[in-house]
Amino acid sequence: MTRPGPIGVIATFDDPDAMVAALRAAREAGWRRLDAYAPFPVPEAAALLGVNGARVAWIALAAGLFGAVLAYGTQWWLSVQAYPINIGGRPLHALPAFLPATTIVGILWAAAGALLGMLALNRLPRLHHPVFAAPGFGRASEDRFFVCLFTGDPGLGAWEARHLLNRHQPLSVAELEA
């Protein structure tokens, strides 16, 4: 029986600049399946990986508009179509009176959309992930920076990953098992 090879190689750095440099070198070497882990946002690294927050904003906007339309539509349909009641002779379709609930519900949907959209795009919650097994990964949430190159693409194996990462003075390099 043969042991399955490593699914990736992960390097530890003590400095975000070293992490970004390693990430840039990996991108230039053609690595497409890779990720970096940091204890605070590193926008430069996210840009190298082609990720920004724009999609979260679009999701929030769409959710907010949907919520607003839903709120206005509900009020209109119930007050005008489903159950029209004359209260003090006021118009059934009362735009000013419908607006507060419309805006507030729109805001509610947009805020929930931002959080849930962020989680969905990040594929969270996911309580376990192979990188958690990397030695010292607990400090990714404190003061260490990690670059992980996932093997599998032709010509980009564990040896190439080690070779590339070692050039950026990592504190340590380890292989990730599936």
């Binding site: 990720d35 970096a36 882990y37 990040n122």
Partner: protein, 437 residues
Amino acid sequence: MSEFSTRPVSDTPLRSDFGWRFAFAVAGAGFLTLLLAYAVVALLLQGTVLWGTNIPFVWGFDLINYVWWIGIANAASLFAVVLVLRKHGLRTSVNRFAEAAALAAVAAAAIYPILHLGRPWLFYWTFPYPATFQVWPNFRSTLVWDFWGIMSHVVVTGLFWYTGLIPDLGTMRDRAAAKGRRGVARIYGVVALGWRGSVRHWARHQAAYRIVAAMVLPMLVSAQTIVALEFATTLVPEWHQARVPLHIVATGIPSGLGVVLALAALLRGGLGLGHYIDDEDMHLLGKLTAAAALACGYVYAEGLLVALLEDQVTRQAIAARAFGAYAGLYWGGAVLVVLVPQLLWLPALRLRAIWVVPIGIGAAAGVWLDRFSLVTGGLLRDHLPRVGPLYAPTVPEWTLLAGSVGLFALLMLAFARFVPVVSMYETRHEESEADVP
């Protein structure tokens, strides 16, 4: 990076012993919260007859305390939002617990509108569904706005707090695991949703956090404004004015800032976090409170001066509020909200908890007096001559207020006990000047 370690912050909730002062505080807050449960049960059994409210004083402590708590929540949220959106250095220290204070204040506020319904167990009738006889709520009523306003306020404030907390919960998980506390690590791990600090995740997280913060902003104006409009849409002369929403939103700010200021001073001393909530933070918070108080001075002056231009009925109503039976509340509020916080312009005072805590709590108390004056003083002169006694809160009402203060304190103590009180990733990020998307 490690010269500015966040370990003292992350290790605080993992301490096994918080000392006798913390236990004493929890016992006190827990006792008051039990009083709240008692007051609520008594109210459910006997009804609002327990309260001092009567015609014309239809609203009493229920509305006073509700508006007061919402004001505190709003100002605390407003402060946190401004810090998050402006990426100010201060946000590393105070935005997290300002958010928590807002959440606790909203929780304390939300019990009042339900309790004052008279039949609180039917509160779900305000939900937009045909509760009785297939009748929907009247969507043209301010009460339906209130339902949406309060409900969304609670949810959005909670989302704001939680969104910012997720990465720090990940840190808590890792620290607990490093200390070998697997059970605790599991709990933090589940609520951190498996956060692993991927830079892709960070980019989306920062966008989401800012969007939620931006969504809180209109929520603040709308929540207080809706309450204010409930006053303004009545025909009571003192309430039926366009300036009521401005007055309530503006005076709410020093109360919340005062509470945040007092909490900051207490956390600095109590948890030894002087390094994270530093002198600069205290100076800025103190100056903001003083400036907000100055703005309230303008609002008060405007209220009195514009009254001179009003018709006779309104003029008399305002005069009755400012110089009538409840004049002490009006002027007491004005002094505590507008004048006393001006002391915070003195730099030496801003760093001393012995000054800052009473001034901050005093601003909150002053706004409470102002709400009292608005609700009861505003009803002194209605269109009909008043018969019957003045409104005075009864013991069950005081019990309810003490209970809601206890609930707020208990929630804040739980917050200090179980989650990091300072935004740790922002503290780490402080040195790096790169902008986030």
